[in-house]
Amino acid sequence: MSVPSPARSRGREGASASSGRVLPFPVTGQELVLLGVIAALWLVLGLATPAFLTSGSLVPLLVSTAPIALVGLGVTVVIISGGIDVSVGSIVMVCAAVTATAMTAGDVPLVLALLLSVAVGGALGLVNGVLVAYGRVHAIIITFGTLNIFRYVGLQVFDGSTVDGIPATLAVFGRGEAGRTAGVPHSFLLVVILALAAWVALRHTAGGRHYYAIGGDAHAARLAGVAVRPRVLLAYVLTGLLTGLAACFVIAQGTSTLAPNVGLGLELSAIAAVVIGGTSITGGRGSVLGTVLGALLVQTVASGIIQLGWPSQLSSLFIGVFIIVAVGVDLLRQRGRSSS
């Protein structure tokens, strides 16, 4: 329950009155800029290393982008509502551990494994949601705590070793030839479809608009009749469900072995993707399409640095710089809006 600054809410009012439009333009400036940056990066990388613009390099790039973008979709909704979720990396770990164990030990069919992973993710998201929505403590503290608690649960499932001999049924998500349609891995296609659905839901349904209202000013939203707590709760459950699905992509991405460090630090990439995609970390503004582009940019940088032969840890430095630039651009835009 943060008290929003009066200056910001006044600025928002002014903006919507002056433009005379209820909804903002379908595609934000940040998304166009991102598209340009990604195109430029691909061009530069293509010129620097001839191998970059081949399917042998772009397909793994899309496969590795998919889970981050998918987790990012949920985190976008959470951040738009004014919260944050740093426990998603641990949720990926628990879901991946449970699903991989079920597939190796129980010989569970693909559909059931997917449902299991999504259900486990949803349950963990519910824990976050209940604590954040009804505990009246800021989300960063709650999810920082559950990050550790979930990691403990995951380590118990792993029981001190790796999960070996995972069957190849998950290859349908994009690792092999069978996992692609027209050269695009299925996992990435699925993410694009889900992102479009989330984009429509956030923009054009009352429930979706409520998240922007809560992030803009939770108190005003409550007075206007928005059921703030159930909405916030739902955002974390949604994030858990999507993260559960993303965990299956992560399993499919690797070999037949799953190590306990799975998902470690994934929350950083996801939050970076969301912020670089133009979602305001203070809540109230943002778009899921930007998040997908942000995830693509983050992974392009990571893969580009490896292909250039630079130390792979250098990609974190670039991601950090990108986050600061993205937040700076957002601040400038906010200032421009409140002064006009």
Binding site: S2, G145, T146, Y152, L268, L314, V327, L331
Partner: protein
């Protein structure tokens, strides 16, 4: 686990204790004492922490006496465990400064600053042959510069602290790894620093690690003096409580917040020296391995009564909270040996953080300020 039990019972207790307030009968007198105790436990974080410390130590002593532990949990073991205290207390104090400055103040980058400064310190002392004092001075200045970078972005440019320090966490930890191509520095001058982690006798039988005396105690004293006894400290609490009111009363809000982040960086730089001495090696992942040092630091600050909304927090609470975590962790290692024990520490840290945060919120709502 033991620590969360009293927290759980707290919400249900007040309803019975405070309802017969108007009645002046015998029951009323008893409940007034009860509610006064409850009030003290909920509002005076130091009281709660002392109670929890007594419970934790009592439980482990009891287990030890019945031979449930893999080694005796006695005064010697507890003193030995204090080697983990300096980094936790010092980084908890760094969070105290930043969180108390308000407006969502938090510093996720402290662990990364420790890693990066540790490498700089290791290079200076271990490779370039700087004297120990000069290298420590360099570490402190370098840490303060890292903190000042955060502070400039947050205070002067208006960046949200959470995402800013997340970004600098990325950047600093990446630089720490790249600067020596992932190689730790453990040349003889760095190895000799281990004397700082050795225990020295203080009073009679009691021996404490040297780093507590050389680094921890001075840091605690300085932070306490600054926050509780100087105008700068008063300004820090003022901007954390209400920065608009502070601005109107003539306080330079931006400069104060900038100094809070710089101070956190400075302390982190000092922690880098402590951690390097403890490992006898400057490691590029010293502050970021696993879940890093930021999580325990924030947990200890919140458990120590620092309100995440700013303006509330005391040095004594942070010190006691760190002591509680250190002795709890040490006990868990004896009760559940090996890998399972260190995993259980993760769970305990997470549960303690969530429970402490819920408790902070409860006591703030019930008594309007801790």
């Amino acid at each position: 686990m033991t620590t969360s039990a009293p927290d759980r019972s707290a919400p249900s207790a007040p309803t019975g204790a405070s309802s017969p307030e108007p009645g002046r009968g015998r029951a009323g007198g008893a409940s007034r004492v009860g509610s006064a105790v409850l009030r003290a436990v909920l509002t005076q974080r130091v009281v709660l922490l002392v109670v929890l410390l007594a419970v934790v130590v009592g439980v482990f002593w009891n287990l030890s006496a019945r031979n449930y532990l893999s080694a005796p949990y006695d005064a010697g073991y507890m003193a030995l465990a204090l080697i983990n205290l300096p980094p936790l207390v010092m980084l908890g104090l760094a969070q105290l400064l930043v969180i108390t400055s308000g407006r969502g103040g938090i510093d996720l980058s402290v662990g990364a600053i420790v890693s990066l400064t540790g490498m700089v310190f290791g290079l200076a002392h271990g490779r370039w042959g700087w004297s120990l004092v000069a290298a420590i001075a360099l570490a402190v200045v370098f840490g303060a510069l890292c903190g000042a970078f955060n502070g400039a972005l947050v205070a002067y440019l208006g960046f949200p602290p959470l995402i800013t320090t997340l970004a600098t966490y990325y950047a600093f930890s990446s630089l720490a790894v790249v600067v020596t191509a992932q190689q730790p520095i453990s040349t003889p001058p760095v190895q000799e620093l281990y004397f700082l982690a050795r225990a020295v006798p203080v009073v009679g039988e009691v021996a404490l690690p040297l780093s507590i005396l050389v680094f921890l105690v001075p840091t605690v004293l300085v932070v306490w003096l600054v926050t509780a006894r100087t105008a700068l400290g008063r300004r820090l609490y003022a901007i954390g409580t209400n920065d608009v009111a502070a601005e109107w009363s003539g306080i330079d809000v931006r400069r104060t917040r900038f100094l809070a982040f710089t101070g956190a960086g400075l302390i982190s730089g000092l922690v880098a020296v402590v951690v390097t001495a403890q490992f006898a090696s400057a490691r590029p992942d010293a502050g970021t391995a696993g879940n890093g040092l930021a999580l325990p630091a924030i947990t200890i600050a919140v458990l120590g009564g620092v309100a995440i909304t700013g303006g509330v927090g005391r040095v004594s609470g942070v010190v006691l909270a760190a002591l509680l975590v250190v002795w709890l962790n040490a006990g868990i290692l004896l009760a559940v040996p090996g890998n399972a024990g260190s995993q259980l520490q993760l769970l305990a840290l997470g549960v303690v953080l969530v429970a402490a945060a819920l408790l902070n919120g409860l006591s703030l709502r019930r008594y309007g300020g801790a």
